[in-house]
Subunit: 330 residues, 2 copies
């Protein structure tokens, strides 16, 4: 870019990078990891060559990218990596017992009923639509956008591919275990904890835990849903075309990422740990908030055990597809 | 501003605020304190009226404002509040024993020798010059700058006014106490700590502590200097004029701020606490880093006691002057 400017007889441009994320994220760590800016007294070549320095101005922008983040016509290039599959929220109807979209018995859209799937798809398309509408206002004429997010190859949204295998199989079974586990079946400390709570609740006149003998109620499980949707090419294309502000240069789905375990694929315990860690890194914070850290730890222990027992199958089946889009602002 | 645009038949403008500070500052807390942005679908009037919402885009910019922070010609208005009296560093010569600027026996410029004072002044002017040079590149034509920082009314830089009384009297005496206190004089735990260190140092063959019987050596004190300079109007004006990019609309020094203690001015212990807290809020982090938290606690305890003993005098004398500058970009 700098070369092109110089060859045309212009001074090379200055670059600004805006890092955007939700306000609750840790921007302090990002700032401390940024190398210092190179001395602006030097030429752009020296700038770019200066090792351990950055050759761009940096800023952080807290907010939801499904809404406006920048002033009108102020940005040349947008890039989003592995974020657009995160829904802005679980659709309300998915946790509404009266709704046909109620995701009873499940914690993810994978393998869910048609109503749930359609609510998830609608949420994804409404969110992506908000993203494109906002960026179309913020982008300068001639701007470009490069987007990467989780995707799926199936037409059916209840087959969520890699994300589905991650959150719709062993992870789902681990939640079911928490619901089904009887308090009389073992002397496990968490069971004792539950009994302790039952006694406390009994004392304050709310013997809730007595109706269900599990570590959590089935309602508690059903109220939790992973707010992720891996779109198909078609899901994605429909929104871009409806928005109308961007030309599609490229829109593809491709197999990406490395396998779940690279170094010790034959070590079954390692596969189990990797499965649990993958689930936790994606959704751990949400699960802690929903059932507390103790039960969350218990849940992931079960995911790990199930992953270890089905190591070969897990390793063969879990693979992620990505949607990659290159769009131009008309 | 929005009204003026609308009256002229234009759409009201959008506003962006960039909050800048050193990268080590806590931007996460700032982001969590920002109200959510108002729905951009509403009109600017509704925007501005929306309570509990902000009507501007927000971003954070980590870096030193004595260097470049923003791209060329990208900012309309700069404002800096109570930061420009912070030097980018203590001048090297001020802690160089061989230099005539060595600030022997003191931890601040207040009451220091001429060499030290001149080094501090030079550092301030070089820093402010870097600030103005950077902003002159970043500012759009017709831009404005409103600056407020600590200032002094005296021509003599070794009379630092309020800052001088804060860091050049009881605070200075507290440092001297740490140097002078004999390890034989009391059974205070910190003294025992020092004796413990002496034994450790003796064991590793470096019996440094034996030459000085204080809690810290005089060198340790002399290597600490508060990197603050309260400029006079003249100090400030010289730099703005030498830079030449800005027209001075207003450059004044005025008495500002509230007294050290507002609610219980007759409570001597309260005055002592307020004095220690003021010193700690300004320089606590630097002192912790220089002598450790234990000795720092000890230092501020002494500041508090001295403030309590001289409460009336402290309350009468400590007042702060501020330099206020309104500059236009030519």
């Amino acid at each position: 870019m700098s070369k092109r400017y110089e060859e045309a007889g212009f001074k090379p441009p200055e670059f600004s990078a805006f890092f955007s994320d939700l306000p609750s994220n840790d921007f302090n760590t990002l700032f401390q990891l940024l190398p210092p800016i190179a001395d602006p007294g030097v030429s752009m070549e020296e700038y770019l060559a200066a090792k351990g320095h950055r050759s761009y101005f940096a800023a952080a922008v807290p907010g939801s990218f499904y809404k406006r983040l920048f002033p009108c016509r102020s940005i040349n290039l947008f890039h989003s990596a592995f974020s657009l599959h995160w829904l802005s929220q679980v659709p309300d109807c998915v946790v509404d017992k009266q709704s046909t979209a109620y995701n009873e018995g499940r914690v993810f859209i994978h393998g869910a009923n048609e109503g749930t799937a359609s609510a998830y798809k609608k949420q994804f398309q409404s969110d992506l639509s908000g993203f494109l509408r906002s960026r179309a206002q913020e982008m300068m004429s001639g701007g470009s956008m490069f987007l990467v997010c989780l995707g799926r190859t199936s037409v059916d949204p209840t087959d969520q591919g890699g994300a589905g295998l991650l959150f719709g199989t062993h992870f789902q079974d681990a939640w079911n275990d928490l619901v089904l586990e009887s308090s009389g079946s073992s002397g496990h400390p968490l069971v004792r904890l539950c009994v302790g709570n039952m006694i406390k609740e009994w004392q304050v006149g709310r013997p809730k835990c007595l109706t269900s003998l599990g570590l959590i109620t089935s309602e508690k499980r059903d109220n939790f849903n992973i707010p992720v949707y891996a779109p198909s090419i078609q899901d994605f294309r429909e929104v871009v075309e409806a928005n109308g502000s961007f030309t599609i240069n490229k829109l593809e789905v491709f197999k990406g990422g490395s396998p779940l375990v690279v170094n010790q694929p034959d070590d079954e315990a390692e596969v189990g740990r990797a499965l649990a860690n993958s689930c936790r890194s994606v959704a751990g914070v949400l699960i802690d908030a929903h059932i507390g850290e103790e039960l969350s730890k218990e849940l992931f222990l079960r995911v790990e055990h199930k992953g270890t027992s089905h190591a070969k199958e897990v390793l063969e089946q879990i693979q992620f597809f990505h949607i990659v889009a290159s769009l131009s602002f008309a």
